[in-house]
Symmetry: C2
Subunit: 197 residues, 2 copies
Amino acid sequence: MAGKKQFDVDIALDAAMVQFWRAGYADTSLDDLSRATGLNRSSIYSSFGDKDSLYLRCLDRYAIRYGDRYEQALSSGASGEPLRAIRAFFEVTLQRIADPDVPDGCLVAQTAMATPVLSPAIATRAIEAVGLQRARLRTALNTAELAEGDAENYATHITAVNQSLAVMSRARASQKQLRTIVDISMSALSQALHSRG
Amino acid sequence: MAGKKQFDVDIALDAAMVQFWRAGYADTSLDDLSRATGLNRSSIYSSFGDKDSLYLRCLDRYAIRYGDRYEQALSSGASGEPLRAIRAFFEVTLQRIADPDVPDGCLVAQTAMATPVLSPAIATRAIEAVGLQRARLRTALNTAELAEGDAENYATHITAVNQSLAVMSRARASQKQLRTIVDISMSALSQALHSRG
DNA sequence: CTCAACTTGGACTGATCGGTTCAAGATAGG
DNA sequence: CCTATCTTGAACCGATCAGTCCAAGTTGAG
């Protein structure tokens, strides 16, 4: 065949992801996406389908981009150092929020907040993403010496606090404040670990 | 003068508030608002001005509706029972989420998440609302025996966890899970109080 | 009853939306 | 060079958007 793809799909996807991430689904028009990706309206359609399909692709891209970092962070304490693992986990979010090349907030949290007005497919994907994060945390905490059911409970709590960083960063909270939010949850976990298991 | 207001402004405002709360600013059209309030398009305009003005009015209404409940809850432990006060504070949010007459989530959290695409006036108001909640918590915790600066830190943490309930409820978390999220933060605060001050 | 104030529904504007189509041009493998 | 593929820009569609306006109808105080 002659004439291969002339643009990098992943780069375009990253640009679209950032656009959705910053402005949300409703406030991102196809013209915005065209501008962000540098791609023509027609090219977007032929390559990614309609707006919903592209948004789903961006959610997947986001999951790969950051989900892997969370996974890696959690495995850093795999050998019985859950405190280090959870700290590293939070650090992924804190670093992302501190990164000036990327919007504040979190694409998953933002999508979850908009579930009542998004298509079922998109809403489901966001909810699944939250569930996956929680499952990863539970797995990481299962190796820790915690009372029965506490791995589950702390996984839920940490997932929630992690989402709260998205809201607080959009509410102009400082890096120091975000770290305070994390530190207090860390102290609760530390306490639970030291009081036997 | 003859011909007074024929409809209850507060009832209409409540209906508009719930509509914005459920669907967000971008996904709420004037027709949606007209349908929700039972008011004519023209009446909405003559009574509340444009969409931005109405949204601000709804934010204020929300602040009155729930801000007062938070205030009251916090004052329930004014005489040196901060744990009871904070528990009551969280309970306001948990009850609201459990209320079937009202959407999941939180209008303030939702507005905060959308700051990049909202008018500066609206974004500022949402950020102020978060700051106000934090200030109330700090005041309530100042009476508690906590180490220097901890009242501030816990106020920040509790504000964040409270916002996280909005995200998690939209992500279909169960009431039990929401309570778990709260309980772990409560245990951290309890620990800080018992280790002297 | 009178009349001023309020409410209504619908029509209208200009703009933007998502989505589709197509002809012209650019690209690179053969 | 030839040609299949990809990309582009623009035009176009029907729908919806926020916001405005007005004529007709309703209300209730005086």
